[in-house]
């Protein structure tokens, strides 16, 4: 990385076109209100937290070369694990019509579905940020995209593995025993130094968007083993193994309908499994002659490991309704429920946002866990129904 930073420093001088880069970003004040008292020792009642994510962008020669730097920092009132710093991006790119080469720490998204992102395996999940696993840690990478009329081929070399973040002992929304990520174990002899490789081919043809992906390297999803922490308390220790994964993502747009499929086949620890997310999003523009849009989301989540799957989603259904108000404040509300029809478990979610003025935005989120069985991987969250309110200031 040292070499790269030197490169970044001298590059503007080399190109001779030093113009000031742009700064932007946001600061978020977040409050989490829990409806029930905590189940476990050391867990707080409510929580308060502050995060900042500035972004610096510098382009040269009409953006043929560019540098993006995006650090992230969160300060949490209760959980030292959630107080964390990450370099989301520190990436230098050479951009051409037919190819793009990037080197540094970057973020990549693959896939089409909403409930979960099966094929999206480049970046590790920053799980302390949110249960929905949408927040990702920056990944060191060399990334080459070849852009042709017949599709885009992308090659990745991924040196350096990022461990998943987990809520600590002093956090809500955690398992019991808590997960001690300071003792993480690896099945590869190289530990977290294993160099991972990935390839993706994607294309758009008419109403179809599709992608095929391949990954070999350290599984971003850890298994767990029992252990004890410094104080002799029982803990869960993440165990990272190597995996092979092939993935497919397909999307068809047809009028108001978006049809979606993500499918993976994964081999890890000598066993194989398949998982899919499939469904649709239907958008009704201008409901009943108004200017509101109504979106209906249905996705079916399947995992061949059944109830043994260390995931929420083994044979579940997501039903969601998105209201887009199309007002000047860009207000939106998403109501959803993830249903496990066999176990009669329900996870309700609400996500809403509205713009307060040119710089401020209000985000509201709620989760309700209902009917969790002792066998559920999130049984320990049964008292953690919460309402989260965020005031976000953009600069």
């Amino acid at each position: 990385m040292k070499l790269f930073s030197i490169l970044f420093l001298i590059l503007p001088v080399l190109t001779g076109t030093v113009n000031a880069g742009e700064w932007s970003g946001s600061v978020v004040l977040q409050g989490q209100l829990f409806n029930h008292s905590p189940l476990f020792q050391n867990q707080p009642g409510n929580n308060l937290s502050l995060s900042i994510s500035p972004e610096y962008y510098q382009g040269w020669q009409n953006d043929a070369h560019s540098l993006t730097i995006e650090p992230f920092f969160r300060l949490d009132a209760n959980d030292p694990e959630r107080t964390h710093f990450d370099l989301r991006e520190f990436i230098y790119s050479v951009n051409r019509d037919t190819w793009v080469f990037s080197v540094g720490v970057g973020k990549v998204f693959w896939g089409v579905t909403e409930a979960q992102h099966l094929v999206d395996v480049i970046n590790q999940t920053d799980l302390v940020e949110s249960l929905d696993a949408e927040d990702k840690l920056g990944q060191p990478m060399l990334h080459l995209s070849l852009i042709r009329d017949w599709g885009t081929s992308e090659f990745f070399i991924l040196p350096g593995f990022r461990e998943r973040t987990f809520p600590g002992e002093k956090a809500r929304l955690r398992t019991s025993p808590y997960i001690d990520s300071s003792q993480s174990q690896y099945s590869s002899r190289n530990g977290d130094k294993h160099v991972d490789y990935a390839f993706r081919y994607s294309h758009t043809k008419g109403n179809w968007d599709y992608g095929f992906s391949w990954f070999y390297g350290t599984n971003r999803d850890p298994g767990f083993t029992g252990g004890t922490d410094n104080n002799g308390q029982p803990v869960l220790i993440p165990v990272y193994s190597l995996m092979h994964q092939v993935g497919l993502d397909v999307q068809l747009v047809s009028g108001n309908w978006l049809w979606k499929l993500e499918a993976i086949h994964r081999r890890a620890n000598g066993s194989n499994y398949n998982a899919t997310t499939s469904g649709f999003e239907y958008t009704w523009v201008g409901i009943l002659g108004s200017s509101y849009d109504l979106g209906l989301i249905t996705e079916y989540l399947y995992d061949s490991r059944g109830n043994l799957a260390p995931t929420l989603f083994n044979k579940d259904i997501l039903l969601g309704t998105r209201f887009v108000f199309n007002d000047t404040a860009s207000s939106e509300v998403l109501l959803g429920v993830v249903i496990d029809p066999d176990q009669h478990e329900y996870l309700y979610l609400i996500e809403a946002s509205t713009r307060l003025n040119d710089n401020w935005k209000l985000n509201v989120e709620a989760r309700i866990f209902s009917g969790l069985n002792p066998s559920s991987p999130i049984y320990d969250l049964r008292n953690d129904d919460f309402l989260q309110i965020e005031f976000q200031y953009y600069f």
Binding site: D63, F109, G255, V285, D358, Y394
Partner: protein, 259 residues
């Protein structure tokens, strides 16, 4: 004898002219307008949108746009949002089509995600403004059927008054009345009627400038919604042609790095 022939010929041609129906005349004007606006190639611009609500409060949107002329189909365009700050960096790619739904993708920079948008939303509001997507996409002859109403004057300029009916079945409009300047073959005013045929909106085109000694572009477009009392002005702060754009500048890959 020749005189008789000439008279006959004159009679015949005027008969042909008379035989042109208002529909044919309307289409002819639309085709001429299209012909005069063909060949501009590509275009880059920065725009500001001022949204006025009923109570006189305003809010500002800023964006910059790139478009590529596609002969025989709708144009390709990318819009990159600059303001409000929460949507800064969000980019919208559209392949517009006259009669079938547009192809649309949205890039969400926080997630690095390109999302396909189901595209029957041509009638939906653009960024909470009084403009619908279909008001802003490229004007193609096949988008409407036409009917010439009359010759008239508007603010001292000679205009054709043409009624046009959207060919796209999910259009938000039943019909429009366009006042087309006879010199520029560009609209000065368009009156929109909603699907129930009630007066809906009026769009005014102001401050036309000619570029490359040929192409006319209005510097300001003002859309007034008669039903809600709201209005939106769309103001071009800069515009340039001959940027050398090609198809490669308008795909999912270029959308991800559009600045």
């Amino acid at each position: 004898m020749p005189r008789i022939l000439l008279t006959l010929l004159l009679l015949l041609t005027s008969a042909v002219a008379l035989a042109q129906t208002p529909e044919e005349r309307g289409l002819e004007i639309a085709k001429e307008a299209d012909k005069r606006d063909t060949g501009w190639g590509d275009q880059k611009s920065s725009t500001r949108m001022v949204l006025h609500n009923r109570h006189g409060q305003t809010s500002i949107r800023k964006m910059h746009n790139r478009s590529l002329e596609v002969i025989g189909d709708g144009d390709k365009s990318i819009i990159i949002f600059d303001q409000p700050r929460d949507v800064k960096g969000t980019a919208f790619l559209s392949f517009s089509h006259a009669v079938k739904p547009d192809d649309q993708w949205l890039y969400l920079p926080a997630l690095k995600r390109v999302k396909r948008i189901s595209s029957n939303n041509k009638s939906g509001p653009f960024m909470g403004s009084e403009f619908a997507y279909e008001d802003l996409s490229s004007q193609e002859v096949a988008k409407y059927t036409y009917k010439f109403l009359k010759n008239d004057t508007l603010d001292g300029r000679d205009v054709f008054v043409i009624e046009r009916f959207p060919a796209y079945k999910h259009s938000g409009y039943k019909r429009q009345i366009a006042y087309v300047d006879k010199k520029m073959y560009q609209p000065l005013k368009v009156i929109f009627f909603d699907r129930k045929n009630a007066l809906y909106k009026t769009l005014y085109f102001k401050k036309y400038h000619q570029y490359l000694n040929h192409y006319w572009r209005a510097n300001t477009m003002q859309m007034v919604n008669h039903q809600s009392g709201k209005s939106t002005e769309l103001i071009w702060e800069s515009i340039s042609f001959k940027n050398g754009f090609n198809d490669a500048d308008f795909n999912r890959n270029s959308l991800k790095r559009a600045r």
